[in-house]
């Protein structure tokens, strides 16, 4: 690999090369290596946020530039994500929509100011419109207002509802199953939310009695 000789010496070497009037600009691969080196040496552990969070898996590294990954790579990311899905142990997809609303409102968790073991919120309103009563919502993700109603869910126990239910569970569990470079966290796969919390969010989105579907 062409860039291996500079990965350890890092910026200092590259800098001296450039200062010495190197006629050619560094290659893209060399810049990538330098950037990685810079990132790795600029961060430190703080609280629960350790530097190992900078270790990228395929989905992260392939979605780390202004260009999307190749179709083949994107396909692989999505397939791996689909294979990662764990369905709820007892086949029970639903919980408490009121608890789901609280989770959707909660943007906390996993930062270096959060205590070890403190639960994660869903961060949902940061990016999505959900219940109509909450006017402070983001728009990075699509509106989820009337999510279940718009998909014709009048009874979550109906057999016809199952495909939508499983699609929704999959999105929450590992959003990369349907979009390789989705900006949505992989709540189930990474363990940000537990099964109970996922069920509560499922109810918020799909239960006909949920404020979302009024």
């Amino acid at each position: 690999m062409k860039t291996s000789h500079i990965t350890l010496s890092g910026i200092a070497v590259a800098a001296s090369v450039l200062v010495a009037g190197c006629a050619t600009t560094p290659s893209s691969a060399e810049l990538d290596a330098l950037a990685t080196q810079t990132i790795m040496t600029s961060f430190r552990d703080q609280g629960i946020a350790k530097v190992d969070r900078l270790k990228q898996d395929l989905g992260q590294s392939a979605c780390s530039s202004d260009k999307p990954p190749s179709d083949a790579v994107a396909q692989r990311i999505m397939e791996e994500a689909k294979a990662s899905i764990k369905w709820p142990a007892d086949g029970q997809y639903f919980g408490d929509f009121a608890a789901g609303e609280r989770l959707a409102q909660n943007g906390r968790g996993s930062t270096w100011t959060d205590a070890p073991g403190s639960p994660n919120g869903g961060n949902c309103y940061n990016c999505h419109q959900i219940s109509k009563a909450e006017v402070s919502y983001g728009n990075i993700g699509p509106s989820l207002y009337q999510y279940g109603k718009n998909r014709g869910i009048s009874d979550v126990a109906a057999a016809t509802a199952l495909p939508i239910i499983q699609y929704t569970w999959t999105k929450l569990y590992n959003s990369k199953a349907y979009a390789a470079c989705s900006n949505m966290p992989r709540f189930g796969h990474v363990g940000l939310l537990d099964e109970k919390q996922m069920r509560d969010l499922m109810s918020l989105l799909l239960d006909p009695r949920s404020p979302v579907n009024q």
């Binding site: 330098l34 990132i39 946020a49 530039s65 919502y137």
Partner: protein
């Protein structure tokens, strides 16, 4: 300006607003927020920090009992006006690309003899960090209205930009976020906060041309280093070192992209 274009966008959607109560409500909310921001603009507590910074610049401090009047922010010793809109830039004496804060840190250590760690290891808003916040408030205010114009002639300045760009798009952490996840598309918001597209010039007084800023939420003056630090915290990343290479490179990337944008720093933000 940002708000105005946002409202214009909503007016363009008026057809939808007529038939959709949701869109109509969004418009009301956006107008209300714009009204709130306008009310706060006259009387920005950043003024208080500017006054402190101006005083600090000429105050003899540190083991060397020196003031900052010989500090070179890129336009020669003691020149302040116009420097803010050209940082980060290459400095020959340190052989580094430096942003405003890392440069001030150099001046505080070399001119005044203050220990670097008294700044880099201090909590934001306390001690020498509080002094730093005053200094950046005043120094940025001295370039208010001027257009961002970072130099890109030195190879290291170009390198800093390229590294910054890659750091901007770098996904990581528990939530798979990158800077770009929120700041690479127009018209996006987290909750009701507009997210400028920082991969290009987002316009006068938006994004890089608006920081440092007085943060209403904490009642403190936030420097760019602190702004980036809290972005990374919310990204669920580990802790970026104060004035570390990655934060300076990100400053170069955003600052170069903002070329031509008039600075309103220090501004006032939620």
């Amino acid at each position: 300006m940002k708000t105005a274009s946002f409202c214009a966008g909503l007016l363009a959607l008026a057809g939808i607003a007529l038939v959709s109560p949701v869109a109509a409500q969004t418009k009301t909310t956006a107008d209300g927020i714009a009204e709130y921001r306008a009310m706060l603009a006259d009387g920005n507590p950043a003024d208080l920090f500017e006054a402190r910074g101006q005083e600090l610049w000429k105050t003899k401090r540190g083991p060397k009992n020196a003031d900052m009047s010989q500090c070179d922010l890129g336009k020669g010793p003691g020149v302040v006006k116009g420097t803010f809109v050209e940082l980060p830039r290459w400095f020959a004496d340190t052989q580094k690309v430096q942003d405003l804060e890392s440069r001030l840190l150099t001046c505080m250590t070399t001119l005044q003899g203050i220990e670097a760690k008294a700044v880099t290891e201090e909590r934001f808003g306390r001690g020498e960090q509080r002094n730093m916040e005053g200094l950046v408030a005043w120094i940025s205010a001295e370039s208010r209205g001027m257009k961002m114009n970072l130099p890109q002639s030195h190879a290291q300045e170009k390198l800093s930009y390229e590294i910054g760009k890659r750091a901007f798009f770098f996904r990581g952490g528990t939530h798979d976020f990158s800077c770009a996840a929120c700041h690479s598309v127009e018209g996006q918001r987290i909750r009701l906060q507009d997210l400028p597209n920082l991969t290009k010039n987002p316009g006068d007084g938006v994004g890089f041309a608006a920081w440092p800023a007085y943060r209403v939420s904490s009642g403190e003056l936030w420097s760019m280093q602190r702004r980036l630090n809290d972005c990374f915290r919310q990204q669920r990343f580990p802790y970026p070192g104060y004035a570390s290479d990655v934060t300076i490179a990100l400053g170069t990337y955003m600052g170069v992209n903002a070329k031509g944008a008039a600075s309103i720093a220090p501004s006032i933000k939620r």
